[in-house]
Point group: D2
Chain length 342, copies 4
């Protein structure tokens, strides 16, 4: 078989492990050939390719980013997108596609499958918010980066009454904030699933410090929002470009906490460092297993599936299942996390 | 309730996370009191204790080792051991015990349960060879340490025809070698489950280098053994103390490979650094969840159980199930790992 | 002798190494006794102390922060400060003081020396802006943390035309930005010593991308300022509390670059993680050597001095020399750094 | 000018930073062209080259190893070596050479200079044993790797009376052992400069444990030797290949200590992981500065020199000075280190 591979959406440590595994297993065991499309679906639409061989995928296992590049292009939002995909596959002589990506990329994959294109997907989300798989690669690396940062914050609070705010990723789901908050021993964790009341947060902090705490660490997901929307609006209007972006909520919290509690407050915004750099061993192993499983599925003609981690096993699930709805922080885990707040 | 806590066996990153979680949840939610026994079962037998309170378990989440100390003492190998345990519990006014440990410690726990002592166990094994749980805390940290080492070895092989041997833990099971070998991109992985033929290993290395490889990395579990027992005996006799110990097989491989292939060979023996230091976030979260789950189980009087990770959930399983037999590297995983060797 | 020790100013990895070394050398070699003042000069003024013995300083070598706590209290800005210091020394039966700190703390130390108090200082500045010493402990750790962050940013720029801004510490001097920018391979480095023109910065970025670069990394010291003060004022007015604080310049750059170049721009603000956590070996060795040298100086009655690194040797310099003026980024180093920009 | 560049001897983190800096500064400022010789002097003798341009040296700053490869070939030990070098330079049209290496490589460079070849050297030694420069790149990275290992060992000693031996590099000089031993808080540090008495070492350990220590950490340089040569011979005879190699002394110590003290003893042999992987920021900056300085020197025709770090400045020193004799651990530093042993 001749198979096209592409990576879509934001960066995620472990992407290169997936690509290498697909090629290694595909070439050695199945005798396939591979074509890499550059910059996600954009490369398919523009017929922008690079060779994917054992040689071109050597030495990339531990490297962050993706050798294929990425983009947020959506085939079905482009005029005549489906036909362009078909044309690209014909030009390249492809039998099937393996797209690696998140909700959007897999959504396109699902539609392509319905439209008759042979496809097997590999799930990717730094936020851990994809259904149908226990974890995806990259998430544990991001959790570790955030935890390392929180660990460092812990030792810089020898002065009295300081509050350190650490803003982490998580637009729609707070997995990263909850995991790193638990691992780092945070005192407050704010997530998109549970809008917060700024006065309650500040009261909690004041109570902690009244009871002897000399510092507090607040972990906030970038997508966390106050119950009182006015709070955002108030800070939002101060932005001359008219929109709150990455980095917004951490700075807002810093200012509000400092004003309402009188405690000195400082913010760390981790930003893109959470998406980059060497993946943890966990994510390299998971990515490698996903890659092997995806090329095995495609070799068996088991199309329209996505590979998924279930317990310790890699399984195949329908693409449709994965993108049905986002996976939010589960109530049990949050309840356990709460034991350690305050 | 008043509950005794102890840690037995070798060190494992995440032990302190478990202890802290037990106390935090036990005190705040259930109103329990805790007594820490020092140096595992030895502390129970000698009535050697330390207080376990919110204060004494503060700031230990990220610390390696165990604040309780550990030992390999086995209650049932000590004269009148059971009665000494009963006496200690009476002296300390305890209602139940939470032992945290591996096969031995949990084996004792299982027998104590049969002998009527209220007990809930927390599984701990750096080697990942305990049944009934997907993972235990500490394993991912050890995998990461070994992977970091292998990553470093990769860049030191610019000269021609060098073989680097990295000896990792794993007396009876090769989980750590397989995971770190996959994550680090090793070319040969030798594990206890699969006795190796030294000539096959050397032929494989010679073939690799004949095909253009300039270096090879061999990951070997400390418990890996050659098919030809004579090989060990031959090197064994060279030991003036009459026994092969930690570090043995790596050095033997280095010498045999150098002699049989003519390639310069060097060994790294990671030894106890795999057991020490700051636990990864993964292991802190898992340890914290185990601790909370264990104290919940004991509060419900659900004795004779061990907490376990199943998929993404923490469940309770009978102690007997956990210690039935060691969990060896599963055939599927090894087959996936093999895709990347050579 | 009986000697008081205190740490003042912001946190700096390596402080505990200094404290441990003072005590270890002082007790073992000289037979001194030590008293630790808590929270810097505040502890001296309030007679707030803790014992400093071999036991109380054991196991702290690798720990960030300071076991003594810190503050920004200035003796000479407190009414009757000098007499309070004298009183505290009498109450505690002290023969001398070893203050560990930056410009402010050492400034107080210098005046106390002039006022007849026996004192030897240890220099501390995370920003590396103290004269009379080649380096202080903590700086290399901060450089490494920033470099690790920049390394991670490098792999997250696979999409077209992205600009990543990384704000690092450095209010008055750009040492940290220059070192981490050089080590991380930044494309633009903005420092307080050289006010920047936002249009020049944006033109430089546009030229880079026109010449084939797909991403750029901008490292900015928190104290860097635009030539056009109006730029700050414009963004300043958007702050409802009326002041620009830590984190300000990075966000401003992100917005301006995005508007002026059209390239997607994202900011990482490292904040206090640069001050915290385990010190690098370099800083532990330097801190240990400083501590030993300080207690040796005080034992010889060589007061009014500060210990300093000169080449590979620890020397003693007059306190006055250290605080004469801040050490700015040297022109030679900046010129070398510039080779790699763009 | 057209300039040849080569790297000789063992790997050292920071080599790629030097190469990149030479090319960047040479091309941008001086308009030079560069040829890379592969595998050290071997590439010169065999005319084995690769292009060195801005493009081929992009993205290598943070990578361990050397893109040029290395070897231990010595021009003057090869028949007609000098003429072969001259021939290679003529073939490649070279005006000068920049060899990057240690004692051997720079020794060749010195002789080539005497024989009329225009050459400027860059010092490289992971062991820090080259004279005429305060430090070389790679050393701090190796110190950090060893320190991280010792840190991990510290937390794995909760059981009674355990001795952990950590063998680090250092054949002729103990810099790495002393620095990492100081930074890691080792209890015994054995270096080549000071032959040890195994009975004294064991007595020291017994005394420590009699005084309450529960564990001890022994750092030993691979080149440390016992005063009693018979000790080595005794263990040497146990080697079926007739020679003691890397890893030898650590295992010998483990066995002797266990036998003579009765304390459980375990060894970690770091081996080549000390030479590999991402260089610290310190070493990247130093390597970059060395590269810039070397190409500046060659552009000025200041041949026969080596670049060197003196305090915070990069200077030029005669090649002859650098290789006169190895730089051994200085007495002052060792005395400071000794404060913390035991």
């Amino acid at each position: 078989m001749r198979i096209g591979v592409l990576t879509g959406g934001g960066d995620c440590p472990g992407l290169n492990a997936v690509i290498r595994a697909i090629v290694r297993k595909g070439v050695d065991t199945h005798g396939h050939e591979f074509v890499g499309f550059k910059y996600g679906w954009a490369g398919v639409l523009n017929n922008d390719t690079m060779p994917l061989t054992r040689d071109s995928t050597r030495g990339i296992l531990h490297r962050g980013g993706t050798i294929l590049g990425s983009s947020r292009t959506n085939v079905y939002k482009v005029e005549d997108g489906l036909n362009k995909v078909k044309a690209a596959m014909e030009t390249q002589g492809l039998d099937a596609l393996i797209p690696i990506g998140g909700e959007d990329t897999l959504g396109v994959a699902g539609k392509l499958h319905e439209d008759g294109i042979p496809v097997v997907g590999v799930p990717k989300t730094i936020d851990n918010d994809l259904n149908a798989t226990d974890f995806t690669f990259g998430f544990q690396t991001a959790v570790q980066i955030a935890t390392d940062a929180i660990d460092r914050l812990h030792t810089t609070a020898e002065s009295h009454n300081r509050v350190l705010v650490c803003e982490v990723m998580g637009r729609h789901a707070g997995w990263l904030a909850v995991y790193s908050g638990m691992a780092g021993g945070a005192d407050v964790v704010l997530i998109p699933e549970r809008p917060f009341d700024i006065d309650e947060v500040c009261d909690h902090l004041k109570r902690r410090h009244a009871n002897g705490a000399t510092f507090s660490i607040v972990v906030v997901a970038e997508g966390a929002t106050p119950k009182d929307g006015g709070l955002l609006t108030q800070h939002q209007t101060t932005d001359s470009f008219g929109h709150v972006r990455l980095g917004g909520i951490g700075i807002i919290l810093e200012k509000e906490i400092e004003e309402k509690t009188g405690f000195e407050s400082r913010t760390t915004i981790l930003g893109h460092i959470q998406r980059g750099g060497t993946p943890l061993a966990f994510d390299r192993v998971l990515g490698s297993r996903f890659g092997v499983a995806a090329v095995d599925a495609i070799s068996e003609g088991d199309y329209g599936k996505m590979v998924a981690l279930r317990g310790t096993r890699i399984e195949r699930v329908p693409l449709a299942e994965a993108i049905a709805e986002p996976k939010l922080v589960d109530a049990d885990l949050y309840e356990t996390a709460e034991v350690f707040f305050g």
